[in-house]
Symmetry: C2
Subunit: 371 residues, 2 copies
């Protein structure tokens, strides 16, 4: 029983995604990828203890008979990626429990794992359902991901919180020092949604697999979520616990605000970061000064260095001097995409609000000042 690979590049792309999901515990059956082929239709599955992904494709392969085998994900993928040039065939040797990758006169053989033990996954068919644009959802996750916590002491903060008012999905991430939020419009009106928190590995994987998907359906039931598109099914466990209420964090009254060129401020933050290195500090003083020429002074000091950058401001109201983490500020600026951003200050110890300067302000970031 053999599978002819007709489009190696496409096959590798699908395999790469399934491998990314597969468990990295070598002794676990979930460290395999399950390949199933019938005629020109192909299915590749990968899973770990929380996530399961099945991708279906057509025309990438041609199988003489219905064939299925489970092989170690990483090893199979690395071999497939580095084959010599030529037509590639996968031959399943039932008698020997192995699969042969045959290219011209070269042959690579891999022992198969027991496919019958590979878990079946309960894909959600019913629950809260949302129709979304996959690309926008992927972009939304990319934009807020940097603000998730890397600290496992409050696991809920390592995820992205998804809420909905029926019109939008709002994606929120915070590590309690900074926060990022972005709204993604729903393609159909839906019910409200609260306390749905996507774990880290699922965030990474959804960013990848949905980046070029026009429409997908998201179904949420209890602590699980299934996302379906034309050719893939992704199911993940959700993080348990309640996500903190962030609405009270967002300031409304501002004593100072300014438009800033985003790229310029990113580069200045980079230089401040380098300047602060000798003391392994990350905090600089930001002085928005409303003198003849409104400017932002960025001031940094270490035991062996000091410095000041001056950036001109086009549009400053009020004045403020505030201490900010330059890495957090830079991350927030990089997650936005407009040329200019609006920075708003409610006080020296209040969260700083950063928004794109554009009609469509469905995104914002908060950075907490440092004392």
């Amino acid at each position: 029983m053999s599978i002819k690979i007709n489009h190696l590049k496409g096959f590798l792309q699908v395999l790469e995604r399934a491998k990314a999901v597969a468990s990295d515990k070598n002794d676990d059956i979930k460290s395999g990828v399950l390949i199933q082929a019938k005629g020109t239709s192909l299915s590749i599955r990968g899973m770990d203890e929380n996530i399961s992904l099945e991708i279906q494709s057509n025309e990438l392969t041609g199988a003489t008979k219905e064939t299925s085998f489970l092989v170690p994900a990483s090893f199979f993928q690395e071999l497939m990626k580095n084959l010599p040039k030529g037509d590639v065939k996968l031959v399943k040797k039932e008698s020997k429990n192995e699969v042969n990758i045959v290219v011209g006169k070269s042959q690579f053989n891999i022992a198969t794992m027991n496919g019958e033990d590979y878990p079946v996954v309960d894909v959600l068919q019913e629950g809260n359902s949302f129709k979304i644009d996959g690309t926008l959802f992927s972009e939304g996750l990319s934009a807020v991901k940097h603000a998730t916590s890397e600290n496992e002491t409050r696991p809920i903060l390592t995820g992205v919180h998804i809420v909905s008012n029926g019109q939008y999905l709002t994606l929120i991430a915070t590590d309690s020092h900074r926060l990022a939020a972005k709204a993604v419009p729903l393609l159909q009106e839906a019910t409200e949604l609260k306390n749905t928190v996507l774990p880290k590995k699922s965030i990474d994987e959804l960013i990848q697999i949905l980046s070029n998907v026009k429409e997908c359906e998201m179904i949420i039931h209890e602590n699980r979520m299934t996302i379906k598109t034309d050719n893939l099914t992704f199911t993940t466990r959700l993080l348990e616990g309640s996500y903190p209420d962030i609405t009270k964090l967002i300031p409304n009254d501002f004593e100072c605000q300014s438009k800033v060129n985003r790229e310029e401020l990113i580069r200045a933050c980079d230089r401040a970061k380098i300047s602060l290195k000798p003391d392994k500090k990350k905090v600089a003083k930001f002085h928005f000064k409303n003198s003849e020429l409104p400017a932002l002074d960025l001031i940094f000091t270490t035991s062996i260095s000091s410095g000041k950058e001056e950036l001109f401001l086009a549009d400053l109201e009020g004045e403020i001097t505030i201490n900010l983490d330059v890495v957090y500020l830079k991350d927030s600026l990089q997650s936005l995409t407009t040329r200019d951003v609006l920075i708003q200050f409610a006080g020296v110890m209040k969260p700083v609000l950063i928004k794109p300067v554009s009609e469509d302000a469905a995104q914002f970031a908060l950075v907490l000042p440092v004392r």
Copy 2:
């Protein structure tokens, strides 16, 4: 007292080299770079406990007065590399023991170290002297470097051995599993040379600083070497101890030999390396078989995989089956540059000799087989 940087890119290149030499121990005065400027001439020095480098340049800078300062190498270099756009000026503030980097309205200040404590180096003026083409010497070091030992138990093998018959410098490296040698012609007839062993950091640095140098002088005296070019002086301590005699390792009588396409064999070694990963092995069986179509079979087996690659051979004499480390073989092949290489076998337990197929065979590699 200030220095205007007229050519930032050139300045950064010189600074990068001096930084690479400087000690990475932060509390050592040798972790600084010493900048000296007078008119349009500039000197930058870096050193550690074994190496000293001084590079002189003209027209990169302009100094109002004779100026000199010592600053932390890595920090100064990273700041200089990331400055905002604009004209750059270095201003020395005698009263404050600091140097200011001034670009437009931005300014970065670094505390200077005490330049008077920076050691003076005894540059060799007399000793065994050799005139060489810097580019060829740099290429020679690059070609043999991979075969130096990473194991400090026999420190002498971490270096490159330089010998001369008065006509050539021969560069030799071996970690006792594989060996690389390359001869570099002298520009003038000279004395014989033995037991000169260049330490690792000096190898790396000389590869960089001599890569575009037409002519340089190498002076060796006791356990030190100085290399001088038009604009730089490099002095290094040499490794102490006696380098093993490698002449008896090189086989003369061969029972099998073949020409092989170098790139093809490199790629096959790469795939064998991936195929052997599950067991963390690196040894494959190489079978040069003189059948109807002469071919090399590369055979590899692990606990969960096996495989065979077949490469056609144009020019095979004799037959052999031998076990080789695919990484060592690949490194050797990569250090050569010709399209085809000649591989010669003196027996299944004798070193394998690999040579470029070209008129100018001033280079060879040995790889020891594995039992």
